[in-house]
């Protein structure tokens, strides 16, 4: 079995983002999806801090620290892009104007519950940022994560034990070994890397999985 590396995962997510989509990419791994969006598609990247039509990082030396993304990295604005204030920015999410949001996760449940903001450990200082607004607001919320923790535990679970970010908000989970759909009727496997069988995935995750793969063309 060949696991996808993080670049391949980003490229896989990018493949499912259609022309014309308004998209918010979360901090961390999801941000790298931008590097794999096909240049021949007009895709509008939104950043929570008030820009639409976000472009790539500037060349070194050209950074403008009043033009940053949610991770506070310097970015650029595409021709045709625009700026707006925070209430408008979160209205774009909350009211479902954003088509797709891609987030990282600590855990996702088979019903689409998401935990990605707080470990709940004693002494941990919580920070939530825009995670809760993003998770429940976009028309579709994708999660991108490695399937297993470093300790080998599945991050796709029956029920999240970390504090929740949102209930039933995730529709799809892109991992290093498979793509899952999640929701009210549980989890299904849409795609697997070569050399992996659904029984292996059931063993790895410990959750019920149905086969949702498209028939070979």
């Amino acid at each position: 079995m060949e696991r996808l590396n993080r670049h391949q995962m980003a490229a896989r997510v990018a493949k499912d983002i259609p022309e014309g989509a308004y998209v918010n990419l979360g901090i961390g791994l999801p941000t790298t999806v931008a590097n794999y969006l096909p240049v021949d598609r007009d895709i509008f990247l939104q950043s929570e801090n008030g820009l639409l039509g976000m472009g790539p990082a500037p060349v070194p030396g050209e950074e403008d620290w009043e033009l940053i993304n949610a991770g506070k990295q310097a970015v650029t604005l595409l021709t045709g892009g625009c700026y707006f204030h925070h209430a408008d920015s979160f209205a774009m999410m909350r009211a479902g104007h954003i088509d797709i949001c891609v987030l990282g996760a600590f855990q996702v449940s088979v019903h689409g519950d998401l935990a990605n903001w707080h470990t709940g450990e004693p002494g941990a200082i919580p920070a939530v940022g825009g995670a809760m607004d993003l998770a429940i607001g976009a028309k579709q919320t994708f999660v991108m994560m490695e399937l297993l923790t470093k300790q080998g535990e599945s991050k796709l679970v029956e029920a999240c034990h970390y504090p929740l970010t949102g209930l039933g908000c995730v529709s799809r989970v892109y991992t290093d070994v498979a793509v899952f759909e999640v929701g009210p009727s549980g989890a299904g496997v849409l795609e697997m890397v070569e050399g992996l069988a659904i029984e292996d995935l059931r063993k790895l995750t410990g959750v019920p999985l149905r086969e949702s793969m498209a028939l070979p063309a």
Partner: protein
């Protein structure tokens, strides 16, 4: 003749009192009104409730205000960051109270205050720790949490240009919370790179109408490639 320009940051913040609620614009350091914050620290008011997206970055701005021991409570969405050490230390020592608010709810609650609304129902946070103990309601099949407006005595914000009537335009993503905080506070103080004559700001492009701004101070021009 109405002239809202004030000669210095010191004069602009002189009447902020112990125990005031102060909104401070900015997302990280973009849009943070550094000169007004420095003046506030020097002025000495303490026991402040600060409303900001973060809880300070590095050594300047909100971080310096916390380091100086002037903040009793902070209402924010994203306190913990790689460079939030002054907040982290004060929080762990039990010297600062934290009200953690999802970022969109923070914006909506500030906007509600500025718009004169008594409360809002928001879907964000439903079923999570941050909605515990709060009233909820199902509306058209969706679950919402009741959240109240956040008012403030003062808002300190940063804009690019302003005029003597208080009209403001901003620069790039330094706009962030500025326009809504200006509406939510009793007294809004804007630091701008340049105060221009009336009429220089295109009326079609004014972002914050002067009615929401009480004082304007002019600072050094914004360096195009300033290092954060």
């Amino acid at each position: 003749m109405i002239d809202k320009s004030v000669v210095s940051a010191e004069a602009a913040v002189a009447d902020i009192k112990n125990g005031s609620a102060v909104m401070i614009g900015g997302f990280g350091t973009a849009g943070m009104p550094d000169q007004l914050i420095e003046a506030l620290i020097a002025q000495g008011a303490g026991d402040l409730t600060i409303i900001n997206n973060n809880a300070g970055n590095g050594e300047t701005g909100v971080a310096a205000l916390i380091k100086a021991g002037k903040v009793k409570k902070i209402i924010c969405s994203f306190p913990r960051q790689a460079d939030s050490h002054h907040f982290d230390a004060a929080y762990r020592a039990g010297q600062i109270e934290l009200e953690l608010v999802p970022q969109g709810n923070l914006a909506a609650r500030i906007q509600a205050a500025g718009a004169g609304l008594g409360a809002i129902f928001t879907p964000t946070g439903f079923g999570t720790l941050l909605a515990e103990g709060k009233e909820t309601r199902e509306i058209d099949g969706r679950q919402y949490v009741l959240e109240y407006p956040i008012h403030a005595d003062f808002a300190l914000i940063k804009a690019q240009r302003g005029d003597r009537w208080g009209n403001l335009v901003y620069r790039k993503t330094a706009r962030n919370f500025g326009p809504i905080m200006a509406m939510a506070a009793k007294t809004t103080i804007a630091q701008v790179a340049r105060i221009v004559p009336l009429g220089d700001l295109d009326p079609e492009a004014v972002v914050t109408p002067g009615i929401f701004v009480q004082r304007v101070i002019e600072t050094a021009p914004v360096p195009l490639h300033a290092v954060a």
